[in-house]
């Protein structure tokens, strides 16, 4: 059995592309979790109204735009 020292960084085969992929997936995951938390709280405790509906739209549009830009620029 070959001995593999995981602590030896020269053994790691991680390219910058792979790091970018991981960062992107983590950001998407974190955004999804926060989106669920936000919408749950806004719908349950927000008391409705035009302001919260407007902010819901602004939030989701802004987030999708930023995620899309990061996806497109992910080489």
């Amino acid at each position: 059995m070959d001995y593999f020292n995981i602590l030896d960084i020269s053994n790691w085969d991680i390219s910058s592309q792979r790091i970018a992929d991981i960062v992107f997936m983590l950001t998407v995951g974190m955004s999804a979790i926060f989106t669920i938390i936000f919408y749950y709280h806004w719908r349950k405790y927000g008391m409705g109204g035009a302001r919260i509906h407007t902010m819901e739209i602004i939030y989701i549009v802004g987030l999708i735009l930023l995620i899309a830009i990061s996806f497109i620029t992910l080489k």
Binding site: M30, F34, T73, K75
Partner: protein, 178 residues
């Protein structure tokens, strides 16, 4: 928010939007900081080693927009965390009571209600030029309950809210004595 049978919401009171301005400015500054730092490092004032400038420019060309969009996504979420905390702190004035709902964290919400009969005293406090011109301030409502006081910090139009509560309290007193 569960209301009693026949209970009607008269007004929903929140803090004035001006309380969001400091956090908004901090986040705008953080959003612009990478650009400012990059321009500074690339300028004559930065005085960096040419190799370092070349590495920096290479990174920016390859991953600059990607890293910046990820950074902005994080700032976007932070802003909405703050906005959610602001928006979900509210005081509901119904025709029977005042409901004080405070969002202390995402999974920590404190809701207290006080009937008008428990209210003993209401004080409004407007301090400074900004509060005077933008019409916001603090509202202290003394009660006879377990928690002695409702304190609404930076409430929008506190004088109007005070007058409304007093008129509803008077109406509630009249209805009870009839």
């Amino acid at each position: 928010m569960k209301l009693e049978e026949g209970e009607k919401i008269i007004k929903i009171l929140r803090r004035h939007y001006v309380v969001l301005i400091p956090i908004f400015l901090v986040l705008v500054f953080m959003a612009l900081a990478p650009i400012i730092i990059y321009l500074f490092l690339n300028s004559d004032f930065g005085n960096l080693n040419e190799n370092l400038v070349s590495v920096l420019n290479n990174f920016i060309d390859t991953w600059g927009l990607f890293a910046y969009s990820i950074f902005l996504s994080i700032l976007w979420i932070i802003f909405f965390i703050e906005w959610t905390d602001y928006h979900l702190d509210l005081w509901v004035i119904t025709d029977r009571r005042i409901i004080d709902a405070e969002q202390k964290g995402f999974f920590h919400r404190e809701v207290t209600s006080f009937r008008f009969e428990q209210i003993q005293d209401i004080t409004t406090e407007t301090k400074g030029i900004l509060e005077t011109f933008l019409k916001y301030g603090d509202l202290h409502i003394q009660t006879a309950g377990h928690l002695r006081e409702i304190f609404i910090k930076d409430a929008d139009m506190p004088e109007d809210a005070k007058n409304l509560i007093l008129s509803l309290q008077h109406k509630s007193d009249v209805e009870r004595t009839q």
